[in-house]
Symmetry: D2
Subunit: 364 residues, 4 copies
């Protein structure tokens, strides 16, 4: 069981890729928040497939209908539920996959977990499609956070071996973060765009797939948010990030790289900038002892290559209990990293709003 | 607020480094479990400092007293609380640090978070010392998990730039895991021990510190444990791991490395070994769609260099609101990675038992 | 924030009386459960108004659409969401009530709680209509509990001063409980039906309303379910019952009556019936120390008179900040007790399934 | 599992009647709160037995030691743990009771729940003694609430058939509430004291016991606190109240009595008193739609007669699986209602602080 999450802001997701609808309920939103539905729609489109040759040609109708919690253009403060109807589902593409476990997917583990009763079509509840309601919820949370001066943005940090530059950890403007949201391939170093595009299309041509990393920043957050131990900022964010399908790693600040330097190099020295305490470096990614330092929160996320590839793979047929081979047909993404960028931002917004609410209660 | 955690097994920790006592309450343990107190004591000693020249000379009395939930040698099933009294605390060492924020520590963020009322002595509630009760709780959980055939073990995977070998991801014996627990520096490749020891002692000599990575494995766990989304195995474990002070990164299976290979390389092909479904590789670290595959669960954790170093550092005095320099005196660890190994195992045991209880209820 | 509840089974409700839709997501259902949709529909109809002259003439379309978590006639084990569209809403009836606070309703407290942004039409999120999704969720849970031999049923125990008989606390058959579900006015002593009907219709004629009590029983539940202290059976059930609008009291077994007898009279003596431990009386309502004894769980719930009455009432206009009088028009229930009976059963089923899952995990 | 509770303030209790110690951890307290330890001690003494001939002669050392979360006379904001050592336990009194189930106690249900491994001595974890840490936690919460102008007080509303007067529901002064705390038998109508004392002593003489009701009020709480549905004020408070051993009923405002009047009588008409919205009556007990109205919160609690009586009772021996008779020896309370008064106040304070924190976050 794990379709619900949250302490001070709660979300409840539901849905299967080829079922009637997918959706999310957000509980604990402040009341009276003006929602810009156009902005929400833009976030939904960033995640939606079928926009270009880098993702699946499958069209997904990502138009959420708000069922509750929204009245006369504002949040009411009661649970806000939005549903997205499933259309353009070609369930017959999947019928033959029922007993053949796709490597890298959750077919086998899902079959065991749910005793064979889960909806296997298109990955069912395990489908990346279930991240669409998360993007909706995150888009709502982003608008609440903007009222507190908090901005969240992410870029592709690498695709396979092609690396983008990192953020400047001590100085990130809100405008920079916002500018990513209009890019097909959001990058700090735009000169890498062509090489990345080529890497994805090459994989596509081979019937293969690639993964990559995403770097995300939260700016404008005050110091003193979060907690030691179980509700540390890192615990809250990693919990949410690892609930996004295909995420296999999360690191804050220098992350694994911090293990290769001396303490005298990794410690972020404090100084005063006017009245504000700041650090000269930000190797800890804006978090010390689980609590924000006021510096940008920075983290990286590893996204594995899309498990759906066109190449023949060895696998098992769990009904016949024998080994077999498999070729996955249908329309698939050669790379989902660019589509995962708004998902990472969204789930971060949900986590940060939860933490902000812990601090301020329901007023924000 | 974050001293409590858990869904199906709950833990509640408390304490400050220089307060009266630290401790933990474990709620939801199965009843009637024989506890081997000697084994628990061994786990406590693995974490305790002062055992050799690689850690601080500070002695910590890590002898837990069980106050409840334990009767005639067995768990009762009601909350089990254990406390550890604080002794050998030299609080005067810290007095002068009250207003000078130690870089890399939680002094500044803690002061903001708690409005200056937190116990600053020795890091207070942020001290790594609070991991002692976690090791106690983990040692109890390990004994419960052993009854289900589940074994957890970890080794140092690197100290600064010195790398140990990784586990063989598809084949790890319980005996291998157990053998780590008796080593001062648990390593897969024992030939690296000398270089690692030298790296730590060199840092110590310079008044500096080093970090490293820990690799942990859970073997004997059946397939089908865990959930998609918010209670994924990765979410549960990362939430707990990032609550351990100094952890800055968590990755499962190939982790960040999985982003540099093709999908055809990262997918773990299924095959039958007798009646059992297994995978030929284990790049996903035993977890697909948030659920165990029956292969070993594998993950790596990044531990930053100890922030307490003897070198002079730039910082701020938040009382006088001016910049200043700082030299930290007292007894400190040049490296805490080896002491963090049992902590990583312990917190993993807590998370895994929570997941197992979700599956089986209170019987186990 | 409080649209979500649960430990081992979780529910998330949403909706406003005059919004687009109301609904519920149930997370943590066992997979592979055959759902009898016809039975669910019958439960929905028991709660729906407009069936006879005892309730409002307002028709509510209580036909739930299942959006997820249900596949090929069975639960999948993933979140099951059902929505009910709102129709036949006459919002203009309520426009003039926006600033005039209806006594006994949540208009005033809701306006303060949500800063005036809540949807005030028809009570909005506070409407008794939001219990329709609870009845749906309860109907699903009842079918799961039936597989464990557990049956839940309730009857009207009183309407105003007219008392029905109580259950025989030590001996209740499942058939008796089931028979209530087909009655317009479910009573143990059917001879009271006419007097009760007359009491309700008299109140209706006067433009007034009446309340009453409901007595509920859970039979077939094994001993040893539940916990001391915070997850006691009484705590779980009362928490849920007091979330139902209009509930003002909950008592288990003899309840308040137990305070008027001696301990020697209230204690339930144990005896053996074959292998089974039973009690000769059941004054504790099947619960001792927060844990089931194996005897029927029995409790009573107080439902206040419907606050919507046609008589003129004194109140305040919070916009103009002055006192005023109010006559509520529209179609209202002279008594909601009979419609609350299936709601009490439903919310009980949700609580009991949560407790059963704590015992057995996800297998049931 | 149920030793932990809370959303915005969390408590974790542990202990057995005859174990090493009992205690509580409070997580989420605001930092910087001056604690008056003398006031806490007074609350502990109100609950402690052995003060007069109305309760057991058993002495309990209810002196809590604060282990953490308290520094230089103020809360730190980190988990505050307090333990109370068990002394004067005569465990041999209970040895013979191991297999003979005491009627009205949790011996049988506890034995089933914990598979016979629970500590049976003196009721173990089920003992009323575990309410001592709750009184400690409540005393701390009361001091925090007092800073918000909130006062909580309770009186004995009846002992067996002897009734005290009720509060004036629309007008209760803080001084009245405080005055109860110094009375041996806190009553609104002091003329009933002698009759109540006689009722208790008569029961004692007969080797029997009596119960009663407690009426509690929360004054000074602003309107708009709480939520519809699952975190209604009634749900939060009843959840906590039913976790107190011996509580069998909870009702708010008129409670069950509200079912016997017309809606036109039960509705509380609004009026203005200066700028404040108030109600002329307070039949809803200060709560509408689960949210505070600003009027005093009022509720009654039913406490069953102490199950430990000296008279011979019929019961079963679960080891020998046969019926038997039982005479309970040792020192027992002929009535625990007067000792339960501070427990009811304490658990109410915990619940109210949780709700206040939801509104204001960690600042209060």
């Amino acid at each position: 069981m794990s379709g619900m999450w949250g302490n001070n802001l709660k979300i409840s997701i539901f849905g299967e890729s080829h079922g009637n609808a997918i959706g999310v309920t957000i509980d604990g939103l402040p009341s009276g928040i003006d929602l810009d539905l156009c902005k929400i729609d833009k976030e939904m489109k960033r995640r939606a497939p079928g926009r270009n040759n880098l993702s699946t040609a499958r069209k997904e109708s990502d138009v959420p209908e708000i069922l509750s919690g929204y009245f006369e253009g504002k949040t009411t403060g009661t649970p806000l539920c939005a549903v997205i109807r499933n259309v353009d589902t070609r369930s017959k593409d999947y019928g033959k996959l029922k007993d053949l476990m796709r490597p890298g997917h959750a077919d086998y583990t899902g079959a065991i977990r749910y005793g064979g009763f889960n909806d296997y079509r298109g990955g069912g509840h395990f489908s990346g499609r279930i991240t669409a309601p998360l993007v909706f919820a995150g888009a709502v949370c982003k608008q609440v956070l903007a009222l507190k001066g908090i901005e969240i943005g992410a870029h592709i940090n690498s695709i396979k071996n092609v690396k983008d530059k990192s953020f400047n950890y001590t100085s990130i403007s809100k405008e920079d973060l916002q500018s990513f949201s209009t890019e097909e391939l959001p990058l700090v170093d735009r000169s890498k765009e062509e090489e990345i595009r080529k890497t994805i299309l090459d994989a596509k041509k081979k019937g293969d797939s690639v993964g990559g990393t995403i770097e995300c920043a939260v700016v404008g957050i005050e110091p003193g948010i979060g907690n030691p131990f179980f509700d540390s900022v890192e615990s809250i964010l990693s919990h949410l990030l690892f609930s996004v399908p295909a995420v296999k790693g999360v690191e804050f600040g220098l992350g694994f790289g911090i293990t290769e330097v001396y303490g005298s190099e990794s410690n972020d020295d404090f100084y005063y900038e006017g009245d504000s305490v700041r650090t000269r470096s930000n190797n800890n990614g804006g978090i010390l002892g689980g609590i924000t330092s006021g510096m940008p929160i920075i983290f990286k996320v590893a996204i594995k290559p899309t498990p759906s590839i066109s190449k023949q793979q060895d696998t098992v047929n769990i009904k016949e209990e024998k080994e077999d081979t498999l070729i996955i047909e249908g329309r698939h993404d050669p790379c989902i990293v660019q589509r995962a960028v708004p998902v990472v931002e969204a789930i971060t917004a949900i986590g940060i709003l939860d933490l902000i609410k812990e601090r301020y209660g329901w007023q924000i």
